[in-house]
């Protein structure tokens, strides 16, 4: 079920799409059902598990202290890392991150960073010297397609669930105080990936469908409907017309999700 699928099955999926339908009964622009569980890793500063169809992703957040980047001395640091752990698919392997997991991490990173989702200026402890560092670790637990949207959703959900310690500076030393504060967020981007198959556009491709689409286009959309990050992927192309169409569809789906999420 999770191995590469046969040519016959591929043709079947593609032909069904030509008629505007999908093997699992969805229309071309339907997302699969998703659920979000926040706070599933109590010991992490934040966490969320997202189920999107059978795709399952866990994101854990650690907040530590570290140095700011020299060119942004007043801002905290965020780093995103993704692991396609081998229990998620028979095709995943152990070893250092490959191009798929690196691209996944960098797309999710870009959506959060460019939309300025985290108010990084509030993560500064001592300008140029000490800031909070937010580690976003994406853990793919079961792969059934559309990792990007599921990972972006899980990452945002985990960040919105993240608490950081209260502190004060006494005699130049960081001292933790009682209690926690919510991680300060300024924006809530929603990420939507559109697949192209022949002349058709679809959303939320399942694993089998990902094997027949020509190309994908991912957009992170903020509250104002502005685009904050884009990534085209796979070995196919889009016509300029299709890109405009896809970007419109992405904004519609982002709107739709935003309402559901109440973000």
């Amino acid at each position: 079920m999770s191995s590469p699928i046969t040519k016959v099955r591929q043709r079947q999926i593609a032909q069904t799409m030509e008629t505007g339908k999908r093997m699992d009964g969805r229309t071309l622009t339907d997302y699969r059902e998703f659920t979000i569980e926040q706070g599933v890793i109590e010991k992490a500063e934040g966490s969320a598990r997202v189920f999107l169809g059978k795709t399952q992703i866990l994101v854990g957040i650690k907040v530590e202290t570290g140095e700011p980047f020299p060119d942004t001395p007043n801002e905290g640091v965020m780093t995103v890392n993704a692991e396609l752990v081998p229990l998620a698919s028979p095709t995943y392997e152990t070893g250092p991150p490959d191009e798929t997991s690196i691209e996944l991490a960098r797309i999710v990173d870009r959506g959060i960073r460019e939309s300025k989702a985290i108010d990084t200026e509030k993560l500064c402890i001592e300008p140029g010297k000490k800031v909070f560092v937010v580690f976003v670790d994406i853990y793919v637990l079961n792969y059934d397609g559309n990792l990007i949207d599921a990972a972006a959703l899980a990452a945002m959900s985990a960040l919105m669930n993240t608490k950081m310690p209260n502190y004060e500076i006494k005699d130049g030393e960081l001292k933790l105080k009682q209690g926690y504060t919510q991680l300060p967020m300024k924006s809530h981007p929603v990420t939507v990936t559109i697949g192209k198959i022949g002349e058709k556009l679809i959303v939320d491709a399942a694993m089998e469908e990902e094997q027949v689409i020509d190309a994908r286009l991912t957009m992170a959309i903020n509250e104002e409907g502005n685009i904050c990050a884009i990534q085209k992927g796979l070995s196919g192309y889009f016509t300029p017309q299709q890109l405009i169409e896809a970007s419109k569809l992405a904004r519609e789906k982002a709107d739709e999700q935003r309402k559901k999420l109440k973000w």
Binding site: E42, K54, G60, N81, P86, Y139, L141
Partner: protein, 249 residues
């Protein structure tokens, strides 16, 4: 293990988390939780949260590890970066390499490797949250995942630690007891075969204390063994329904 710490156990023999000396932490075992794996299980043992996926018997990679006369078991114990207080680098630590080895060796006595020559089975352990005793919880979950995958087994393997806190031999140490206690003795056991397949120890124990801890750990194992069997039974009933659905598809 350090000797300076607050009192971990009171005069009435009650531990900081409210348990008696020979009491297990709460357990939750689920089987068949990962759609893509050939077998899988999820265990919550105290605050430990551990997911195990099993793949195989399948082709062995890299090929030179293949054995002409038997199946090769590979095992990876891996901690999520967010599973511990200070973020863990995703690269495998020396501790993870050692635990992968002892977990594999604790499971091997349960299998019939000669039945599947030229193949391999991969056991992937992901520690999502750690709270002391992860290797034991991992073995308990891995045995369930192997059973879930359908390969024949001599017995389930089940694991639990005992140890010493202050001057008392106690069962199933959690994080603080593991760090501040006097000794930790993880044990893996196949109850039906009366076979110990993992035994390690950190700390200091007299021979008598060691014997007592070993017995206490095996008693703990037997209790968890009952839960393992129940988890498998539950999954079997669920699976039957699921299988039907998939056939109709």
């Amino acid at each position: 293990m350090s000797e300076k710490h607050e009192k971990l156990i009171d005069k009435k023999g009650i531990r900081l988390d409210g348990r008696k000396a020979d009491e297990l932490r709460s357990l939750k075992l689920e089987v068949g939780v990962l759609p893509n794996a050939d077998g899988s299980a999820y265990v919550e043992h105290g605050k430990n949260k551990i997911l195990v996926g099993v793949f195989g018997p399948r082709e062995v990679h890299p090929k030179h590890l293949m054995k002409a006369d038997r199946m090769v078991l590979k095992c990876r114990y891996h901690m999520a970066p967010f599973s511990v207080p200070e973020r863990k680098s995703p690269a495998p630590s020396r501790r993870e390499v050692e635990l992968s080895k002892v977990i594999r060796e604790s499971l091997e006595p349960a299998l019939f490797p000669e039945l599947y020559p030229r193949t391999g089975i991969d056991v992937y352990v992901e520690v999502l949250q750690a709270d002391g005793g992860t290797r034991c919880a991992a073995i308990t979950a891995a045995a369930l995942a192997l059973a879930d995958s359908g390969i024949p087994m001599r017995d389930l393997v089940v694991a639990c630690a005992a140890g010493k806190v202050e001057d008392t031999v106690v069962l199933d140490l959690y994080d603080a007891e593991d760090k501040l206690g006097a000794a930790d003795v993880p044990v893996a056991y196949m109850p039906n075969l009366n076979a110990v397949t993992l035994l390690q120890m950190d700390g200091q124990l007299s021979p008598e204390e060691f014997e007592k801890a070993l017995n206490m750990a095996m008693e703990g194992c037997k209790k968890i063994y009952a839960l393992q069997k129940e988890a498998l039974k539950n999954k079997y009933m669920t699976t039957k329904v699921e299988t039907k659905e998939e056939t109709e598809e």
